[in-house]
Symmetry: C3
Subunit: 346 residues, 3 copies
């Protein structure tokens, strides 16, 4: 799968500079402990710098100011990003398009771009539009009137329900569901009457959606996942939610209906929010954090209900000491009662 | 998709009355801000009543006592329910049945009712029974001896394992799993021996199950989801659980094995329960609430372990102030030590 | 499905001894309350011993020292394990292999063992290797170069992505995903650049994976689920995680990337861990527990951040009493201020 490049070519690829032999032939990227001859490795964390002395790699990607005696260096401001780009260069190859394979069902009314691949077991319904270069792995189901952009990658078992729209370069991991009915019921005495969910989901460009994540269609209007947002596995997005640009939701996060999350937020694993709230830009929520109300931008929050992360750390320590605090409180109470008695006596 | 109706016809549909022109032609339902000529809109929340002055809708569904100058009104006791019914009237059309489509595998021993639709990529095993009017979207898999009632809607990728039973009008969102093995293992030294899960799942009439939700089959006997219960996405139901009638479980709720939940309960998102407990009717559990033991009916609970919701709100405020409380406690302790010293001196 | 055995034969099967008529013919296992003539039942919990007086079973599996007047007894040290083995004997029958069924797509380069069953709607890609006796239920998708061992059972809709490896006797419940991309992105200003996830997942022998659980492939190297581990439904395993032998993760547990969990640990439902931490052997984490840092072996932990379970129980009681504690603290403060005043006056 790999092809070689010179260190100089890699430096040009990532906008960095070479210290050492730019003509060095590099064939792969590998972690610092397992890299060998012909590999380039990387140090994104200063903690691991000492391992440069023992690595068997031929070259290393480092930030300015790092020295790696005996190793050729690719120096750049963001070694982690450079690593990702070089890894992509060596290891990501798009397979040649296979067209509509035997065993795929594609409705004649569907419109397919150039160079698509539609594997066996896929179902593409009436009036679906699929952009050029898009790949549907086996068992993908697109309901009627779905529109998928260019160069998307839908892994096996993904379901996109009717009318939903995906932009370009959207990646969807296996078994994710886009456009399931929102959870809306009107009480009718003790039973519930289903509210038809007639809205859609719009997934903008460069979004990634994790395995078995579920994005509900809007009751009316749209649920929207904005440009560049990244959703991990088993994430739940309620109806009419909006997830901001470049916002990152880790595994098992749940966002309740009609909540609007700003740009460039980060939610740790198993975090969640109430419905019908608004969260500003650049909010970072710790793992398991629970946001119950409108939230100002530029904050780091933890706990449920969430409070500023530093306060939560202290309060959590306090929580563990609650039994001791209660005892202390009781002891003080007894002492005070004793004083009271003494004061009265005098 | 829409068809028109007069305002009077809609009022009859929902058991309400008209104030204004009953002959008005209505063609759709729309939210108050985006509604236009020929649309009916609704106000379920008094907070938004002021928007009636600016809406471009032709008519509005309101509760008795509301005035909407210049708009025709459909007056009824439960506007939200009326909205749901009118939306259903305008927007829900059942497609004509398509029968068993090419590319679906149906075992010859299966019994199919009238007017079923079985899309390509479905697999219907030996002795399955499917009621009339039921629709299986692409990729639905029914294992041997499954029984599905009438007018059910199983979305793409749903799996129902052997022997499980679904009632009538059951809706299952994409990729949900019914009848997976319960999680049962007998310790054998340090390893585990699988306990065969030979029971089934019974899903009663009018239940809705969300996308990627998983309902485990019983070890022996049955797991039962009772009439009218509504489960949101990514919900986990352990073996031998019973979910009561009209009980509502929001996204990512988890109910551990053998727990019995009463009728008309409501669980917020990411809530959960221990196994082998009994929860009474009309219990409401807040988002992320965790129920650890048997629970009396008619309560509102939050937190984990759950306590009455109002107490939890106060305790949560106390949690945030724990560091300050600890400081205060220390200060009082010092003061008291000082008194003690003073008292001794005298 | 059942076949009869004598009580003596069953005792030999499980390494126990008979008290009573060893020639008794037994045809099934049933719970104590519903067992009838010809059934064997079991009492694993001393709490239910009294029911032995009313059961209609013909025989009972008991631990040494239990007496069941009027019933034949199969006496053994681990009645629960014996129950599981006898239930397996009576109720688990492997269907005869069906080979590659019509409607399954198997690439000619794939290598299939003897006695496999591949149902319609499966897709087996290039160079896949499948061991003898393995069953793929409908809609299973195996990407290129996947290797599956012998006697595995992959239920409907399971997806295993490229290069991943499963051992022998692995059971995967419906819709689980093995080998989805790990969640790795390098920040590039405010946007994120995808880090190719070029590692794999290795699932060792005798592992069971629950419905809709997701196991991400490693960024580089491998994510590993070790021998005998059991994962319940909707479990999330991040990239480069290692789950120890015989470790048990209940429903909706989430393990963040690069975390290493020891052998024979047990995680309750909805528990989770931070990433990049190490958890020792024999750690038990309560439901909803959250482990934030490296963790010594042989502990029982609860809460988030997790603390020793017994301390957490006490602290949780303290949490509920926080409002009362705050009042008490205020009251003491007032009393002390009053003393201060009095002391000054004197």
């Amino acid at each position: 799968m790999e092809a070689t490049a010179t260190l100089k070519e890699l430096a040009e690829l990532v906008g960095g500079s070479v210290v050492g032999d730019g003509a060095l032939s590099i064939g792969n990227v590998a972690p610092i402990d397992t890299a060998g001859q012909g590999d380039i490795t990387f140090v994104a964390n200063a903690k691991y710098l000492s391992r440069l002395q023992t690595t068997k790699a031929s070259a290393v990607i480092v930030a300015p100011g790092v020295d790696a005696p005996g190793l050729a260096m690719l120096v750049c401001r963001n070694p982690y990003l450079a690593f990702a780009k070089i890894l992509t260069h060596f290891r990501v190859r798009k397979a040649p398009p296979k067209g509509v394979m035997a065993g795929a069902w594609v409705d004649p009314s569907a419109t397919l771009g150039d160079n698509v691949t539609i594997y066996p077991g896929c179902y593409v319904a009436e009036n679906v539009v699929i952009g050029s270069g898009t790949v549907l792995h086996p068992g993908v189901v697109l309901y009627a009137n779905v529109r998928i952009g260019e160069d998307c990658l839908l892994h096996a078992g993904v379901v996109v329900r009717e009318e939903c729209v995906l932009g370009n370069r959207v990646i969807v991991q296996p078994s994710a569901v886009i456009g399931s009915d929102g959870f809306g019921f009107a009480p009718d005495g003790t039973t519930y009457y289903k509210i038809p969910q007639v809205g859609i989901v719009v997934v903008e460009d460069d979004v990634e959606i994790g395995a078995a994540s579920c994005i509900d269609r809007a009751a009316m209007g749209e649920t929207r996942i904005r440009r560049g947002a990244k959703l991990d596995n088993l994430v739940q997005i309620g109806h009419n939610v909006s997830i901001g640009e470049d916002t990152v939701l880790a595994g098992q996060v749940g966002i309740a209906g009609s909540t609007v999350i700003g740009n460039h937020c980060t939610f740790g694993g198993q975090a969640g929010t109430a419905g019908h709230i608004k969260i500003g830009d650049n909010v970072m929520v710790g793992g398991r954090g629970g946001i119950a109300g409108d939230t100002e931008p530029n904050q780091v929050l933890s706990g449920a209900p969430a409070i500023p992360h530093k306060e939560w750390l202290k309060a959590s320590m306090g929580f563990a000491r609650l039994p001791e605090m209660r005892k202390e409180l009781l002891r003080l109470k007894r002492q005070i009662d004793e004083f009271e008695r003494l004061l009265k006596e005098r």
